[in-house]
């Protein structure tokens, strides 16, 4: 095939690869010739969360199944990997190359998917969601109960440095592990992408769109979903394996409800409709989690608010928002949205700043002050016990919101006019 054609079609993959390889060098410490540990961990977390969220989306976006217990697949994969690593180390096993260790996680997730998927896919819709919720709670509780496999509260520790690499790499430096992680997450993501192009992937879409009709074109939707669940389990398990490689310790948090919720948030915020949405979502969620949590303990609240806003106004997620612009871009009139966007941006910033200020003031009063921390907002020291900052913050938030509403109306007018134009010219919406 023509390489240029391939590039044009698959440029996203190449871009992702380049970003993953290049980004750590932005934080490279040239004077000491070392990678920043924080940057590598952050990027690793984003990559493995992306794999996890993509796996989640195999159920949510592609099969229309809402799971609240996806982390059990991730967690079992992580535990499998830790035990495999320990076993390889203890017995000095040379036939299992270090590069293939993540497969152990995949197998773990697959096995877990075979069991959990069988139970969960007996039902659909809300009942499915509740079964996965129950399974998630069960696994999390069992993890604290059975010491041998789960290691109780302390979890299972392991050591990723084993000496069976086919390339002769020891994986003792963070950069080496990061390269392995890039390889595996790219591999997993590409496989998941290819899966969407197979008969199973398409029929999974069909069961999402119209469960009943699928039966009359010859497919048993339950079987379709079971297969889909098992395969999602494999990839969630790989994500879990990558987690083990990065952190070298697996605790019961890896299969608890919060982890499941993270996958859900990432997949939904990114957008379940397109394939790449969850990757974007994982970057946003991990970014908020790791970046914003450095500055504030209220990051989960911001994430929650972002999530609710998306659910209410943009159920297609970030990728959906981008997709909405496609017809306008094809007309070449994206520029006309520039001014409306800028005009909407101002009240958003004002209101957002007010909201953030209120949240931070409140957090400081109840949590921060007790720890003797000083509060500073937007680089200004603020006294959370006096009235003024509160008043200003509330006024900013309310004024911003009202202003945004007015601006939003203007924006919608402009937007609708453009979309109508696109329709009139026969450009698909």
């Amino acid at each position: 095939m023509n390489p240029l054609y391939l590039l044009r079609r698959h440029w996203v993959w190449l871009a992702i690869l380049v970003i993953m390889l290049a980004a750590p060098f932005l934080f490279y410490d040239w004077s000491r010739g070392r990678h920043s540990g924080f940057a590598l961990t952050l990027m690793s977390e984003m990559a493995l969360m992306a794999v996890f969220a993509l796996s989640y989306n195999m159920l949510m976006g592609q099969a229309g199944l809402l799971s609240f217990g996806h982390a059990i697949l991730f967690g079992i994969g992580a535990y499998f990997t830790a035990h495999t690593l320990n076993w390889v180390k203890a017995n000095d096993i040379m036939w299992l190359p270090a590069e293939l260790i993540p497969l152990a996680g995949g197998v773990g997730g697959l096995c877990c998917g075979i069991v959990a998927g069988y139970v969960a896919t007996q039902q659909r819709s809300t009942a499915f969601a509740m079964i996965t919720l129950g399974l998630g709670e069960l696994f999390a509780a069992a993890a604290l109960m059975f010491m041998t496999f789960f290691g109780g509260e302390g979890g299972i520790t392991t050591n990723r440095v084993i000496h069976s690499s086919i390339f002769g790499v020891a994986y003792s430096s963070a950069w080496q592990v990061y390269c392995l992680l890039i390889a595996w997450s790219m591999f997993a993501a590409i496989l998941m992408y290819l899966l969407t192009q197979t008969p199973l992937g398409r029929i999974a879409n069909a069961t999402r769109d119209n469960y009943e009709r699928t039966q009359f074109v010859g497919y048993n939707p339950r079987v379709v979903r079971y297969w889909q669940f098992i395969l999602a389990g494999f990839f969630a398990g790989i994500a879990g394996a990558l987690y083990t490689l990065v952190y070298e310790i697996v605790t019961f948090d890896t299969l608890a409800a919060v982890k499941s919720a993270n996958a859900l948030l990432a997949a939904f915020i990114g957008g379940g409709g397109g394939f790449f949405g969850p990757i974007l979502g994982a970057v946003v969620v991990v970014g908020l989690q790791s970046g914003v949590s450095l500055f504030t303990s209220a990051w989960l609240l911001y994430l929650g608010v972002l999530f609710i806003v998306m659910v209410m106004y943009a159920p297609g997620g970030l990728i959906g928002i981008i997709g909405l612009h496609a017809p306008i871009a094809r007309m070449g009139r994206l520029g006309e949205l520039m001014v409306p966007y800028l005009r909407a941006l101002v009240p958003t910033v004002v209101g957002g700043a007010g909201f953030v200020a209120v949240v931070e003031l409140a957090t400081h009063r109840t949590i921060g002050a007790a720890q003797g921390k000083k509060l500073s907002l937007f680089a200004m020291p603020v006294d959370s016990s006096s009235l003024w900052p509160w008043a200003i913050a509330v006024v900013l938030a309310v004024a911003g919101a009202l202003w945004l509403r007015a601006e939003g109306r203007q924006f919608r007018l402009r937007w609708n006019a453009l979309i109508e134009d696109a329709k009139a010219r026969g450009i698909g919406v």
Partner: protein, 250 residues
């Protein structure tokens, strides 16, 4: 071994305490084009639901291509070579028109639940899907999400999904309902060509389509067959005129 495509023997169906299908006997030989007519609420759609396995029957037997369908699920009955359409359009709205058609083709082409074949490189499959799109006059809509099509286009797609798999027994539930005159004419032509050499059972209200297509017409009233005969005889049947056609004329 009979050569009936569909055989119903004393089929009954009750919802709660009301009996909707009240002892229907019907034999449709292979290769016949058969129409069911009858007033609204007569149980025509219910009969389709029973034959295609959507609901279980209360008593009686149904055979499709010689096999008793008792206890079979809709996909299993589909694998016996029977495919049906729905009165209330039932398509895959978020998938493209092309994907809709291809979904109808997958099982019959032996792909089953496979996750190792890439659909993009299945030449024969894709060509067959495109060829069917041409026949349905939907090729210009190929890459549109099916949910955005016009009503008539969706009806055409509904027929397309039904016939895509090449089933030899086809059940169409009011295929032309809500279509304009020219659309109906085209649909009639389409149904004629796709049912060539196959067994067709259809529910239809448009009498020009019924009399234009059917070899045999069955009249169903209140869950009972009151007549089943060649079109000419149905037209002159007193009971039918009273129960049904007369109503139209009045």
């Amino acid at each position: 071994m009979s050569d009936a495509a569909i055989q119903l023997t004393d089929v009954r169906k009750s919802f709660g305490r009301t009996e909707i299908i009240r002892g229907v006997n019907l034999t449709i030989p292979k290769g016949q084009r058969h129409a069911i007519i009858g007033p609204n609420g007569a149980g025509k759609t219910t009969l389709f639901n029973l034959i295609s396995g959507r609901f279980p029957i209360s008593s009686g037997t149904i055979t499709v291509n010689g096999r008793n369908t008792a206890g079979l699920t809709p996909p299993q009955i589909n694998h016996l070579g029977l495919s049906r359409s729905f009165q209330v359009t039932s398509i895959f709205p978020r998938m493209t028109v092309f994907e809709n058609i291809r979904c109808g083709l997958l099982w019959s082409r032996g792909y089953k639940y496979s996750f190792w074949n890439l659909l993009g490189s299945q030449r024969a499959l894709n060509e067959a899907s495109d060829a069917l799109l041409e026949r349905l006059n939907l090729h210009s809509r190929r890459n549109r999400p099916a949910g955005l099509l016009s009503y008539a286009e969706q009806r055409a797609l509904e027929i397309g999904i039904t016939i895509a798999g090449g089933a030899n027994v086809i059940l169409l539930d009011e295929p032309t309902a809500g279509m304009s005159h020219s659309e109906t004419e085209y649909a009639q032509h389409l149904i004629r060509t796709v049912s060539e050499g196959k067994t067709l059972l259809m529910v239809e209200h448009d009498m020009s389509v019924v009399f234009g297509l059917a070899d045999v017409i069955t009249v169903l009233v209140y869950g009972e067959v009151i007549a089943s005969d060649a079109p000419a005889n149905i037209r002159s049947n007193r009971a039918v005129q009273q129960a049904y056609l007369g109503e139209e004329a009045a």
